[in-house]
């Protein structure tokens, strides 16, 4: 039992924090929210140079061979910095999926480029009428001769507008199968969806996109199993981002409570504000324990459906409470565009809905409990 970070993890955390303080002021975050691309490629390059896009990949594919747990420590700092862009999509949804189920050829052709920051990946799962349950997918990969033809619409595909490859979960005869689709293929149409924070989600229409068996990712009809593992990693990665954001909200709010004076005293000396801060602190500690434990279990390859869902359900709700209290403490000033607090309020609601809402993960918990 060890709730502490290793020396390397501490160092990674510190490096990341310093890097983002220097390279990603919040003013830039707000500008990027208006940018069609949504992230600065130069920053992406620097992150790749720091070894982050390949952090969790084996050395043979140009990575650093760090653990998933290490990766979540980096994601915490990304969440704290409100980093926009396709990092989670590329590394967690994309590269780790290829690592998990891809062929040696696929790994060799894709992963080194990810490590070098030259590729952006993502994954398409949700649809207009199905979000969590593959058995209601309508996007289909029809087997015709030596080809597969994918048709249908996927929703909420993160960062598809800048992706080089999209992993698509499609119905096949007998189950769900994953395919690795070149985003420049004929018949792939991408439309940006409205955003709350700086996130970028797309509607991706597949209009008879032609693929071969070599584009299949993993075995045929095994997609539902793969998706479950992907969702575990993605949900925990999102928790880590949200945890980082929550830490920042806690610190900002406490600092403001110390600085702001009303009726001749710092507002942080009033019991109401103190108790808001205390409630935030408990929510935050809960987020940290649950996220890191779930990350450790994923990292160790242990069965973790229950722990991941408990974590995502807690973090989703706790971050909502925390960011509401953050606004409450900051008062009207945080309502201004110039302020940073609202970035986290927005991130929290987007995060709650991403990779399984509290409601969805609650149902997983129910099943795991035996209900």
């Amino acid at each position: 039992m060890d709730f502490g970070l290793s020396e390397q993890q501490e160092m990674l955390k510190k490096t990341a924090r310093d890097f983002f303080i220097k390279e990603l002021p919040r003013t830039l975050v707000k500008e990027l929210a208006q940018d069609p691309k949504g992230y600065p490629p130069e920053l992406w390059k620097k992150m790749a140079d720091l070894g982050w896009t390949g952090l969790v990949l084996p050395e043979e594919y140009g990575g650093s061979g760090a653990t998933f747990l290490d990766l979540t420590i980096l994601l915490e700092e990304m969440g704290r910095a409100c980093l926009p862009g396709p990092f989670l999509s590329t590394v967690v949804l994309g590269a780790l999926t290829i690592m998990d189920v891809g062929s040696e050829e696929q790994k060799k052709s894709i992963l080194p480029k990810v490590a070098e920051g030259e590729l952006v990946l993502t994954l398409a799962m949700a649809e207009p009428h199905a979000i969590y349950r593959g058995d209601f997918f309508e996007v289909e990969a029809k087997h015709v001769g030596h080809h597969y033809t994918i048709t249908g619409t996927k929703l909420f595909v993160p960062d598809a507008h800048v992706a080089d490859y999209i992993i698509v979960a499609a119905k096949t005869k007998g189950g769900i199968t994953l395919f690795l689709v070149d985003a420049k293929s004929q018949g792939v149409h991408c439309k940006l969806l409205p955003a709350m924070a700086g996130e970028r989600q797309c509607e991706v229409r597949f209009d008879g996109v032609k693929l071969t068996k070599a584009d299949m990712l993993g075995a045929v009809n095994r997609g539902q199993d793969y998706l479950e593992r992907i969702m575990h990693r993605a949900a925990v990665a999102k928790c880590a981002e949200m945890l980082g954001g929550a830490e920042q909200v806690m610190e900002m709010s406490v600092q403001y409570a110390k600085d702001r004076v009303a009726f001749g005293r710092p507002i942080g000396s009033y019991q109401a504000i103190q108790h808001h801060c205390a409630n935030m602190l408990n929510d935050l500690d809960g987020c940290r324990c649950m996220t890191r434990r779930a990350a450790w279990m994923v990292s160790e390859g242990l069965p973790c459906a229950m722990e991941v869902s408990l974590a995502k359900a807690w973090v989703g709700q706790a971050c909502h409470r925390m960011t509401c209290l953050g606004h409450e403490i900051h008062g009207a000033i945080a309502f201004q565009h110039d302020h940073d607090m609202h970035l986290y309020f927005k991130q929290a609601v987007v995060g709650e809905a991403a990779f399984g809402s509290s409601g969805h993960h609650g149902e997983v918990v129910a099943k795991e409990l035996g209900l």
Binding site: A126, H129, A130, I131, Y132, R133, D135, F136, L155, F156, K191, L192, L193, P194, A195, M196, Q201, E203, V261, A262, F263, Y270, A272, I273, H320, T323, C324, H327, E328, G331, A332, A334, F335, Q336, H337, D338, H339, H342, F345, K346, V349, E352, A353, A354, S357, S358, G359, G362
Partner: protein
């Protein structure tokens, strides 16, 4: 006890509904914001139409163009407008300020201002908060020094709602700067003409990315003396009253406004399939809608209770603060639930009948982050409930 309405009241409600059917609010151009009461939409055209109906001066004395209708009729009007989500943001606040004009202004000022307010030509904004005087309003620093035939005003206000679209500020400023004079006896109330030299309105971009509030800078602004409202140095009483009214009136429409959205969500859930089942049959979505229904309607009844007290002329102590807390807590929870019900589909971009609901829900959700701060923080309002309402000791 009687929780029903008279036939006359029901007829009045129907008259408003008919008016709104004939004049669909969504057809009016807006100068700011989109769809919805209390969430930033404002349309001159619509408000002036209300004015032309005489509905902006419904309760005023006839001599000022009013109809002397009882407060209950005004509450019914507010409910119907809220349910129809008309573009009249800050309408209730403007209305409550005009009431103070009726109470305090000289006959001359009344004649000068009330016709314009009643017709919807003249809009008032509240110039009260300052950067270092939020909850602690008595800390305000803007000064208004008597000089010849005017008051010389210097200072800065923030969070002046719709000041960029309005004409006159309802300005609180310090008219007594001697530190030995207690603060509560040093503040006065003015009507500030936006077009006076030295007034700068600087719109504030909100976290939603658009403009609702402004900063107001006053640099040697000379307000003619006759624009003093009430007695000099007696502004704190009006400040308190304005705040109390603001708390009640600005939020009275909220439960009914939320109820309309809830009804839309119900309809949406009945027509939306997800993962093989109707969303209306999803246990969590049902639960979220039911909890909302209970809270919203309870909130509505609490507001009607206060409205009835006002109508009866009963004294209020804690009620406006309590209603504010109730409404803001309710709203925060409701719009969070709304986002949960929509889930990721809140971000869909589909030209279907639910597109406005989705777009608005994202917007409303963000608005709620500021709700509990508007009209004084909920913390201060709870203090008021405990001390003024329940008699708990301040120290």
């Amino acid at each position: 006890m009687d929780f029903g309405f008279t036939p006359e009241q029901e007829a009045w409600r129907q008259e408003i509904r008919d008016f709104l059917k004939d004049n669909p609010p969504e057809k009016f151009p807006t100068q700011t914001g989109e769809d919805s009461w209390g969430h930033g939409a404002f349309s001159y055209e619509f408000v002036r139409l209300l004015g032309s109906k005489g509905w902006l001066s419904l309760t005023w004395p006839r001599q000022y163009g009013g109809r002397e209708r009882p407060w209950i009729d005004l509450l019914i009007l507010f409910e119907e407008l809220a349910y129809a989500r008309v573009p009249w943001a800050a309408g209730a606040i403007c209305w409550s300020m005009s009431n103070t004009v009726l109470d305090l202004a000289s006959e001359e000022l009344k004649q000068e201002f009330l016709p314009g307010i009643g017709s919807g030509e003249t809009m008032l904004w509240l110039a009260m908060s300052e950067p270092d005087a939020g909850s602690d309003l008595l800390a305000m620093r803007t000064t208004a020094i008597e000089q010849d035939d005017c008051f010389l005003v210097n200072g800065q206000k923030v969070w002046s709602a719709l000041a960029h679209l309005s004409h006159y500020g309802f300005l609180f400023a310090r008219t007594e700067t001697d530190p030995k004079v207690p603060k509560w006896a040093s503040i006065s109330l003015f009507l500030l003409d936006k077009s006076l030299p030295g007034v700068t309105i600087s719109p504030m971009t909100s976290m939603l990315g658009d403009i609702f509030h402004s900063e107001v800078f006053m640099d040697n602004v000379r307000i003619p003396k006759r624009y003093l409202l009430g007695e000099k140095n007696q502004g704190v009483i009006h400040l308190t009253k304005t705040l109390e009214f603001d708390r009640f009136w600005a939020r009275f429409p909220k439960p009914r406004f939320c109820q309309k959205i809830l009804h839309d969500l119900v309809q949406y859930a009945k027509e939306t399939r997800r993962d093989g089942a109707l969303l209306s049959q999803d246990p969590r979505a049902r639960h979220l809608m039911v909890e909302s229904a209970v809270e919203i309607e309870t909130c509505r009844q609490v507001f009607w209770n206060v409205g009835w007290k006002i109508d009866k002329g009963l004294p209020l102590t804690y009620e406006a603060s309590a209603a504010k807390v109730f409404a803001d807590d309710m709203g925060l929870r409701f719009f969070d639930r709304g986002m949960q019900i929509l889930g990721p589909y809140a971000y869909l971009d589909e030209a279907d009948k639910w597109d406005r609901l989705r777009a608005n829900m994202r917007r409303w959700y963000l608005w709620t982050a500021g709700d509990s701060l508007a009209g004084g923080t909920s913390e201060i309002a709870r203090n008021t409930m405990a001390t003024a309402g329940l008699g708990l000791p301040r120290k």
